[in-house]
């Protein structure tokens, strides 16, 4: 087994940069010596990548689907208006570049010659059609992402002007997600709801077939707008919900790649000689959601006490084989908006917990109801959290269920539990994360309350200007507010673990934790 960590990835990149530079300087002898290595790293075209995929897509239409597991399929079929940087998630131009001529206007300029898989041109009219559909279609699941767009106007063959009801600097990040995935207007109009199962985009691969709970197959888009890409002739994604089974399929050479692995599987991978483990940081983190709209968690001291009660280091050791990053905010340390000053905000401090609980009127501790997931890894996490909280007098009554079931009970109208031990998978732009978690009407805010007036103002403020320096400062304030008010209990970031067969080259994990195969190629077909 070979582990490519973030550090090794960086070293590899440095090495490549140095080699590139030497070749540019005309160091003939060095070039000859390095030619083998260069030849090995030149991507080969062809071959079909076989992927073990976690779940059946909810839909292959980016606007009507609603599941976080869909992206692996969507990225293959659809390109986005903007793209995100794999390491930091900063937005960068994709099919379009953008500008904010004033606070309430955004202009998108498309690249020339982009065509959908059915031959329809991806021009300004197509972008307008897609954005209007995202804003208004009755089945759209991304309405809230584009709610600040009040009008879409075609101002040139490849230029679109968006009028915003209020400034929204999160849009470049939002357009790297579902709302920015462009679909062929011809296909959507012709197929209607059937487009869910017959998607037509302008991504590197064309849709071939989708058999529910079995497979999704895509093949090369010969007219792809990025020169020389894609490398793979196609991708065959077999839907294998059992992670251990998916991993076995890679070890047995039936598939090339399985993603979303659990840290507990690393010992298994160490025994497998033909598999490489690619590890990268991700936004996905375990945390406890709190319903701060009612007693006892409407008391800020109780919420702070819960944050001090968790020994995050011990949690990482016990449940993640020691390879997770401890979380004291909702962004990992590699993210551009990460705030270093919050790193030690909540050390494990049982004495402080007792004091805070006594001040909150619970000198003998308190009882809370808490929901959690019912899979094997979640059971282990629950045991650790239950013991840590019980040790300081916070007695938890846990209810385990499927993700859909307990999420509905906690976030939906039922409001069944005080807290929810679950996770947040992250979004391309931090505004999306904070608005989804703490916005007054947000589904993931079980209390449906603003944490504070200041927080509500800051959430709006974060979308005011595009300047990253400005936004970093606003997000630091937001995150400090969230943590001071103890609106949730972040615990640890889960690394993205992907097992790949030896002949898979060019796979790079991204911070969003949702695999993209654009640069992947096969050494043997």
């Amino acid at each position: 087994m070979q582990i490519i960590s973030e550090k090794q990835n960086a070293l590899l990149q440095i090495a490549l940069r140095r080699r590139d530079m030497l070749s540019l300087l005309g160091a003939g002898t060095l070039m000859a010596a390095g030619s083998d290595a260069t030849a090995q790293r030149t991507p080969l075209k062809g071959g079909v990548l076989r992927v073990s995929s976690l779940a059946n897509p909810s839909s292959l239409d980016p606007v009507t689907g609603g599941s976080g597991v869909d992206h692996i399929y969507l990225y293959a079929i659809f390109d986005t208006l903007t793209e995100f940087d794999f390491e930091t998630l900063g937005a960068k131009p994709g099919m379009a570049s953008w500008a904010f001529p004033n606070l309430n206007t955004m202009v998108l300029t498309l690249k020339t010659g982009i065509k959908f898989h059915d031959g329809t041109a991806c021009d300004a009219q197509a972008v307008k059609f897609n954005l209007d559909r995202a804003r208004t279609d009755v089945r759209s699941s991304v309405k809230s992402d584009v709610s600040n767009i009040s009008a879409v106007e075609v101002t040139g063959p490849l230029e679109v002007k968006l009028t915003l009801s209020q400034p929204d600097a999160a849009l470049p990040g939002i357009f790297a997600d579902r709302a920015g995935m462009m679909m062929s207007p011809t296909a959507v109009q012709k197929l209607g709801n059937a487009h869910d199962r017959n998607p037509v985009g302008c991504g590197p691969w064309k849709f071939v077939s989708w058999a529910d709970n079995q497979s999704v197959v895509v093949m090369r888009n010969e007219g792809y707008w990025k020169p020389g890409q894609p490398y793979l002739d196609g991708i065959e994604m077999s839907i294998i919900p059992e992670l251990a089974t998916g991993l076995r399929s890679v070890v047995a050479n039936q598939n090339h790649l399985v993603y979303g692995l659990s840290p507990r599987m690393t010992p298994l991978l160490e025994r497998a000689k033909n598999v490489t483990l690619v590890r990268g940081p991700s936004l996905f983190h375990h945390m406890i959601y709190l319903n701060y709209g009612r007693a006892p968690l409407n008391n800020v001291k109780v919420r702070q006490a819960m944050n001090y009660a968790i020994d995050r280091r011990a949690f990482v050791t016990a449940t993640m084989g020691g390879i997770g990053e401890i979380a004291t905010q909702n962004l990992p340390s590699t993210h551009w908006a990460y705030d270093k000053t919050l790193a030690n905000m909540y050390p494990h401090d049982p004495a402080r917990v007792k004091k805070l609980l006594a001040e909150a009127g619970f000198p003998d501790g308190l009882d809370i109801t808490i929901a959690c997931w019912n899979d094997q890894d979640s059971a282990r996490r629950r045991e650790v959290i239950e013991a840590q909280l019980a040790a300081v007098g916070i007695r938890c009554k846990f209810t385990a269920g499927t993700i859909t079931e307990v999420s509905n009970q906690f976030f939906g109208t039922e409001k069944k539990f005080d807290a929810y031990l679950a996770a947040w998978s992250g979004r391309p732009d931090p505004s999306m994360t904070y608005s989804s978690l703490f916005g007054k009407t947000a589904y993931y805010n079980a209390s449906r309350l603003e944490g504070s007036d200041e927080l509500a103002t800051l959430l709006q403020h974060s979308r005011l200007k595009e300047d990253q320096g400005f936004r970093t400062q606003v997000f630091a304030k937001i995150q400090r507010q969230v943590m001071e008010l103890g609106l949730n209990v972040p615990i640890a970031f889960n690394p993205e673990l992907v097992a790949v067969a030896k002949d898979v080259q060019g796979y790079r994990p991204n911070l969003l934790g949702k695999p993209k195969f654009n640069g992947v190629w096969l050494a043997t077909k």
Binding site: S52, N56, P57, S58, S59, G65, G66, S67, G68, V138, S141, V142, K143, S144, D145, N193, A194, D196, R197, W210, A211, D212, N213, Q214, S215, S238, I239, I240, P241, E242, T245, G246, R248, S249, V251, A252, Q254, N255, G401, T402, T404, E405, S407, N408, Q409, G412, T413, S436, T441, A442, Y443, Y444
Partner: protein
């Protein structure tokens, strides 16, 4: 003689009457199974409308979705709507993905059917001879050995055995694929190659059960007055066993086998997950977890039909072996 395979006992009016009665009995069974499961889906906490509405959906949007898919209708109205279409051959579409249920069933059923029939074949071809050998060597070392193995077969959970089989035959030796299924119609040899390990894991319990039951019945028969008489008449031990013995224990054997087939249907749920076989088991689990009721109902209907058919075949065979059973 179109019905040459059926004995006269089944061709008479009484035989047809029994068959007709069984078929009529099947209707309430199917109705009850689908109604009961429909009720169970409604009892599961959670709301598919929330899943369909996606992340960040407002309560209003969730209500809208509920109305769009008729999920706000009363329970009985929803069931009646489903039943009405089902009797016309329309099993509806998956609420989650929009795929027609009949298409999903047509794709998944052959995968499940292949591992079940292979498991049945293995269980019978190994279990029946073992039972006969064991009964004819009663009390000897071989009998003890076979029955010990059979006890182990009953005790070992199929999922655990499946893991062992994968580890040894697929991962270490590389003789069989560790996961997946191939359609029998496109490549029969490859399909059987894929189905062998899961079928073996499923068959272990069946081999044990069939051999133990057969042994017990045969031992009882062999120590009966009838056998003593046959011996006295000079009939050879082999003829006693084959001509008289198996006919006598046939009813027991068919009962055990039909129960085993019905049990296989539920056992495939776990085995399909371990081997990543896209079959009926995985389909119903995924759909039930998300309250995708048209899919659950479709699978339940097909599984209930299989159970009813297996029982019907068993009933017919009872009559073939022993006309008194009619």
């Amino acid at each position: 003689m179109a019905y040459g395979w059926l004995p006269n006992s089944m061709l008479n009016a009484r035989g047809f009457k029994v068959l007709g009665k069984r078929l009529i009995h099947a209707i309430p069974v199917l109705l009850f199974a689908t109604f009961f499961v429909f009720g169970l889906i409604n009892l599961i906490p959670g709301d598919i409308a929330v899943t369909l509405a996606g992340e960040n959906a407002s309560d209003e949007r969730i209500r809208e979705i509920r109305h769009l898919y008729g999920l706000d209708e009363p329970f009985l109205v929803q069931y009646w709507g489903w039943l009405n279409k089902a009797v016309q051959g329309d099993l509806g579409k998956s609420l989650l993905t929009g795929e027609r249920v009949i298409i999903s069933v047509e794709r998944s059923l052959p995968n499940t059917a292949l591992i079940i029939s292979t498991a049945l074949l293995i269980a019978c071809t190994v279990g029946i001879p073992l039972g006969i050998v064991s009964a004819s060597r009663r009390g000897q070392a071989l009998d003890g050995f076979i029955m010990t193995i059979a006890s182990l077969g009953v005790a070992v959970p199929s999922f655990w055995l499946a893991m062992l089989l994968i580890s040894f035959f697929a991962l270490n030796m590389g003789w069989f694929p560790a996961t997946g299924a191939v359609s029998f119609s496109t490549n029969p040899a490859n399909a059987i190659h894929h189905a062998l390990l899961p079928a073996l894991a499923l068959a272990a319990g069946g081999i044990a059960e069939i051999s133990r039951q057969l042994r017990t019945s045969l031992v009882e028969f062999l120590s009966s007055q009838q056998v003593r008489t046959l011996h006295a008449k000079g009939v050879s031990p082999l003829a006693i066993l084959w001509r008289h013995g198996l006919r006598n224990v046939g009813i027991n054997l068919i009962t055990v086998i039909s129960i085993f087939v019905n049990r296989l249907l539920s056992a495939t749920v776990v085995i399909e997950a371990i081997f990543a076989i896209p079959g009926m088991g995985g389909m119903i689990v995924g759909a039930a977890l998300n309250r995708d009721f048209p899919v659950v109902q479709g699978v339940v209907l097909v599984m209930a039909l299989i159970v009813v058919t297996v029982n019907l075949v068993a009933d017919v065979l009872y009559g073939v072996i022993d006309p008194r059973a009619n």
